[in-house]
């Protein structure tokens, strides 16, 4: 299957659209139900972060979701254009994690690999990788 790119406005109501699309794409790649749920949740988390950062920065630039399958893995990258450093806002030291900390915890656990890249033109790209075969320890 060729790569697919989806663009959504940086608004909460469109994150569900990405989940629907990812579900269909994941099934076409033969992912089992658990892997599919993990992928949908992880991508939804990354899109949610992009929407929140865009709203906080007042950015109206679309969020781009790229789907790049190969024989061995599926890479999904989520790109936003929100200026600033969204990780700069800290927790209030409460014992219970913040929403962002919960999101990062989910992202790290649900995919095989995750990377973040700050973009020169502003914004960032988060790339999630799910391997089609079981990961080796």
């Amino acid at each position: 299957m060729p790569p697919v790119e989806i663009q959504i406005p940086p608004q909460p109501e469109f994150v569900g659209v990405v989940r629907l699309a990812l579900g269909a794409l994941g099934r076409s790649e033969g992912l089992d139900e658990e892997a599919l749920e993990d992928l949908r949740t992880a991508v939804s988390e990354a899109c949610t972060n992009a929407v929140v950062w865009s709203e906080e920065a007042g950015s109206e630039e679309p969020i781009c979701v790229g789907w790049t399958p190969s024989t061995e893995e599926i890479a999904v990258d989520i790109t936003d254009s929100a200026p600033g450093d969204p990780h700069a806002s800290g927790n209030d030291s409460d014992a219970i994690p913040s929403r962002l900390e919960l999101s990062m915890s989910l992202l790290r656990s649900l995919v095989d690999d995750i990377s973040h890249e700050e973009l020169e033109e502003g914004g960032r790209r988060t790339t999630l990788v799910i391997r089609k075969s079981p990961s080796t320890a």
Partner: protein, 113 residues
Amino acid sequence: MELGLDVRQVDDHSVVDVKGEIDVYTAPKLREKLIELVSEGSYDVVVNLEGVDFLDSTGLGVLVGALKRVKAHDGSLSLVCTQDKILKIFKITGLTKVFPIHDSVDEATSSSE
């Protein structure tokens, strides 16, 4: 995408039956309902997640916020959930240690937690 919320009273508890997907778009509706319950004096709350198809960090954040609100009044907030895909989200984030999670509304409302 709509989120269904129904509230009923079971013994001394307010039970919120949630249906649909809880995400960044729908979570505010749940948040408002839980705030409304606490403002009306309902401090022992059960959130029934058996009808929930999706839950993410914004949903978790809403539940955590509600827990803090009821605890400020010496109340309780427990969850009903048997779906593995939703329980997984609580396990990954460590929130199984924070929320009592029950297999049924009956169990939740009869528990002393």
